[in-house]
Symmetry: C2
């Protein structure tokens, strides 16, 4: 089996030739400023339940995040902001011809804090995905098909809407190369671009001799925003209890340090917020949906430093960190610490697909200064000793924390199992309520339904937040894969249409993500056939057994096979990783038709199982459970290896009336009855009254006609 | 979908920097002189029915070919040959320190003529796969696990046996780099290495400053062989009737020339024997098992030249060629013609994975001379005109004939269908005979059985040859995937053991390849379970429906899924391409767990469907049919594309007593009965008497217990 990982872990330790090592590394990665949606990548992160998005893909990708709702800029204020921004272009120390404002924060987060929503502020466009580019006389905003209508409404006439992916629409690079006079200076905030993305941008605009200018000191949009800019989040950080985390910080650091040593590294810089949270057994509330806090972490062989707004850190958390030998430093001091790492000759492990360009560039510049000063010292002293081998180096590899975090330990799995049952209880109560309201002919909108679901979830112990914005899609809205109901425009849920509900919760002990599709009246035979085939795909993946060391994409076809038989398919991956009381979308594993992700599925990993089918302007179907990869006790072990399979985390009934039983094989029929009997057994102790009755009605064994 | 083809067709037209373009092209290809069996490659050619071998993989691959049986060299004669060969090392114009003798002919053929079996002659080792390397004081032979015992017996004490793939055994490059003093000269016959392989070798030995020396003039082994060397084959070439070929030569050339024009090429050199045969609607008898003739072909925009021993060409064939505007030239004049292509400034399309190093190097050297002379002319005449754009160029791409040949037209498919029914009739007669003999307690060896099968096939109209050496494996021998029974050592076929029979025929209208596994007594329940799971995999692939533009590897898991459920698997691919009255193994498509082959399956392609299971020292199971990719008339066409599936070519009963019916789903059970009813319907008209009765007994509907 040909594993990409051998490429991904090859150290490229060239302290000088930056453009050179980038060129060697980049062919593996997504050309983010080009229209190449189908390019496979190691990290494929799913922005909403089923998925297609790719980390760092700022210009065209889907990055759901909470949006600024009540801030529709009038045309005047938009022009005013642009004018103010352009004035800064010619300030001393700036001197640029264009400025790019992406959606990202400094940590490549899926969900970001309001103070970092600079693209929304400057453009007035509140969609989660978009890139703004402002030149001295033009302003353009790129977004994808989900947001064309919204952007048309929200952008003032000063803005050109770039419908990314549409025929003839240029990429940001192509547009810049077209509108700027050759030799232009394009400014960015280097914190908001991954190092990889910045390099790609740099090379793209270099074709027209434009220069990419890193403006470290101040984000220009923040200067315009000024007083009215929301403060950075400062909610308190909490310790993630060892009974949920399973492994203490000292042990995690020990493992990490051993990996560092194996790789010849003396330090690693970690910027992904979920990686910092996982490694330190900490949780935060800085962004919606993900229990993380803004921070960087540097782990060295003999010490570790957390860069964080210390006002968030209580004495208890302080003690917890001290015990693990972790020093606290201000969030903003990360760059100066990166510089001293270089000055001390550290060999620094950096994942340039997630680390921002400010950090990587600062380290590399400091390395260059180190070697220059060494060179001049040697010249002046005619020193023959070779100080090079002791010098600083960047070691470019995929973060080892990503994989360590993906493979769950027993305590994490226990928490996941437990919160999934409480989540199931909330859903059962919700479905009962729904059916009652529908029976009473109460008019319910998609948004009201989502709010009611949140109410039921909130009543469960340990509930913290939704794990993403609920997708509540009635009828044709269900066919919009990334649908988000808005109060003023959303549809009614009734007994005439299919209803797709994709939602999840963040609990103190785990994270859930579940989709069910139901009909409150009589589904058509077409809807039943499609639903049944989606279910057959769901069952085929659920029951798969496969040899260890196999990338997830090999299983993707199992989930599509039944749909393919009648010429149907779905345009998203089948499974994404899920964090344990962390991000609802995490890598590095995945189950997708994108063959580029060669990460083998491993025992303890969690993946979603969510095949679907979407009929434009009619209905959408998706059935999603979360699964844990487990070892299967097969009677044979051909090749002397382990064989793996899945164990379900999600226990919520699948609506029987949607199933055309005549299409099911005996084995599929048995699967369904077996699943429902498990649902009853596990969830019935958690509900009572009408909910318990509903659960019984919806889990009792079906009889084959 | 990420298609490798975009890489494969990227023109690399650098007339000078040879080492440079090779380095760019090579990462796609197999490092053949290294132990990297698992490396994926565009062309994966299956040497025996199920398969693992890779074109050009001289040192460790399986290239079954007819072998020199009665020529066991004594130790004395082997030493004598080595002495004679070494004497040539110091001849004027040679001057080498080592000579590599691979198994190949000049066309990368799977089956080769006896006069080209130089490695067998020099070493005495008759196995199909092996590479000999002779230095001034050492001689070593690399072969793989299948041949260790045989090589031990056949090699004299002058030879070191290199057990390729075993721990600690060096590759040929490693060994050369180890035993030669730095700066050595390693000679090869450049006709016997693909250009790609030679470049890899060159780079590998350059690490120790060794030089790769191309000895064009005469193969050194041939000089030693001398008088006793068999003459090159000169059997007459015949025209492949248009009713079988379907498309005339003029039309094929028209399409090819349009592809050349699209690629900016003015000529193409074709060396794969099946490509030449297919393009010219010719067939030959120069090698066993493949109806091809030794020849090269150069197609230019306005002319075409066939390089062939003209004594093979009858007046009828001559007329056929003349009609298509094809000129005849002596086989040996290929290099001088390649030189004149360069001199004329041709842009030559070359597939460096199949074209030999002699041709590619000759072209490139001629290009260099062209530009040097241009440069000196410009200097002397102070000529400012730029002659460069008009100059010769090599355009490095996968051969377009390979794909064109793989997609069969209606006439080719009709011939394939027809010959498969006659082949089935022969097999039915054979199985009846087998059962009778076993019942009579006649002792039959594996070899006798294979010979009898050939007898039945030979009686069918249009039969020409076996399409590969029959694999006739009784009991434990069935578990040796590449087993070849030898008269003096083979086992008996009886009613105590499983019997695996993988065989095929070349007919005037098509090519067959079929495997059945049977038991003449009572199979164990273990054997039945394994057989049934292999059958379930076979059925799953047979019934698959999938979107167009999908590489075959996506379907591979379907064929393994049932085995995986109990922890079993098989170590070979599931399907290979098959030529129409041509090579039994052809590319570019395949169905395999090697994810490197991104060639999409296309309507009209033929693939084998041959899952298996092999229990070491016990038994082997394989069930193989050939399938044609066809468009399926699905009720939907999601994405506006076609959905594809398979149509069977092979119609021979699957032994019911081997099946554990309780494991089959209702759909699988129906598949089996439906298949057998088709077998009866199609094959019963071709057999009579006891064969017809046997066919009825073995195809009548089974009843689910």
């Amino acid at each position: 089996m040909h594993s990409l990982s051998s490429q991904a872990v090859r150290p490229l330790s060239l302290p000088f030739a930056r453009s050179h090592y980038f060129r060697r590394f980049l062919p593996l990665s997504l050309p983010i400023f080009h229209n190449s949606k189908s390019h496979p990548k190691i990290f494929t992160i799913t922005p909403k339940a089923p998925v297609m998005t790719i980390r760092n893909c700022s210009s065209i990708s889907a990055k759901p995040s909470s949006e600024l709702r009540n801030k529709r800029s009038s045309s005047d204020s938009s022009d005013e902001k642009l004018r103010a921004l352009r004035q800064l272009f010619s300030k001393p120390g700036v001197g640029i011809d264009a400025y790019i404002i992406p959606s990202q924060d400094a940590h490549q987060s899926e969900f970001i804090a309001e103070c970092y929503m600079r693209r929304t502020f400057i453009s007035g466009f509140t969609g989660s995905a978009g890139t703004a580019v402002v030149t001295k006389d033009k302003a353009a905003l790129w977004t994808d098909g989900r947001y064309f209508l919204q952007a048309e409404k929200q952008l003032s006439s000063s803005w050109i809407l770039m419908r990314a992916g549409s025929l003839g629409v240029p990429t940001t690079i192509e547009w810049l190369n077209n509108v700027l006079a050759p030799g232009g200076r394009v400014g960015i905030d280097p914190f908001l671009f991954s190092s990889e993305a910045a390099e790609e941008l740099k090379q793209g605009i270099a074709k027209k001799n434009h220069e990419l200018v890193f403006l470290y000191d101040k984000n220009l949009v923040d200067e315009v925003w000024n007083e009215s800019r929301p403060k950075p989040p400062n909610k308190p950080v909490r310790v993630h209890d060892l009974k949920y985390a399973g492994v203490d910080v000292a042990s995690k650091l020990l493992s990490l340090r051993s990996e560092l040593a194996d790789a010849g590294s003396s330090a690693i810089i970690i910027s992904m917020l979920d990686e910092v949270a996982w490694l330190l057994n900490l949780r935060g509330s800085d962004v919606p949906h993900s229990p993380v806090m803004y921070a960087y972490l540097i782990v060295e062989i003999d010490k570790a430093k957390l860069f964080i707004d210390t006002s968030k850190v209580s004495t208890k958390v302080m003690d917890h960190l001290k015990q693990a030998g972790i020093e606290l430093l201000p969030y903003d001091s990360i760059l100066s610490e990166v510089e001293s790492l270089a000055a001390q000759g550290a060999k620094v492990w950096m994942d340039i697909s997630s680390l921002n360009a400010a950090i990587v560039n600062t380290f590399n510049s400091a390395c260059e200064r180190y070697y220059e000063s060494l060179e001049s010292k040697r010249k002046s002293k005619s020193d023959d000793s070779n100080g090079w081998s002791g010098g600083p180096t960047g070691i470019y590899r995929v973060s080892p924390v990503s994989l360590a975090k993906a493979v769950k330990n027993d305590s994490e799995l226990e928490g996941m199992q437990s919160c999934h049952l409480r989540d199931a209880a909330a859903l059962v109560q919700f479905w009962v309520w729904m059916e009652e309201k529908i029976n009473e002919n109460v008019k319910l909108t998609e948004v009201e339904v989502a709010e009611k679901l949140l109410e039921f979830r909130s009543a469960q112990s340990g509930f913290l937040d939704t794990s993403f914005d609920t997708i509540s899609g009635s009828g044709a809205n269900g066919a919009i894969i990334h649908y988000r109901a808005e109060p003023d425009s959303c549809s009614v849920v009734d007994d005439k249409k299919l209803f797709l509900l994709d939602s999840g919760g963040q609990y103190v002990d785990g994270t859930t993500d579940i989709t069910r599709t139901v009909h409150f009246g009589e589904p058509t035979s077409r809807q039943k056939e499609c639903f049944t085939r989606v279910l057959q795909g769901h069952i085929a993946l659920d029951e798969a057994v496969f040899p260890e060391n196999m990338p997830g994409f090999v299983l993707d076809a199992f989930a599509r096979s039944s749909l393919w038989k009648i010429g149907l398919d779905y345009r998203h991956g089948t499974g994404h990783g899920v964090g344990a009381a962390l991000n609802v979308h995490e890598g590095p594993q995945g189950i997708s038709f994108r063959f580029g992700n060669m990460t083998p599925l491993q025992k303890g990993m969690i993946v979603s199982n969510e095949p679907g089918y979407y009929e434009d302007h009619a209905f959408g179907i998706r059935i999603e459970n979360l699964l844990v990869v487990k070892e299967v006790n097969t009677p044979n072990r051909f090749g002397g290896i382990s064989y793996l399979g899945f164990e379900k985390l999600t226990f919520v009934p699948i609506q029987a009336k949607m199933i055309d039983l005549s299409l099911l094989s005996a084995a599929e029929f048995d699967w369904l009855n077996d699943y429902h009997s498990q649902v009853w057994e596990k969830v019935s102790p958690l509900v009572e009254g009408s909910a318990r009755q509903w659960l019984w009605d919806n889990t009792r064994p079906l009889v084959k006609q």
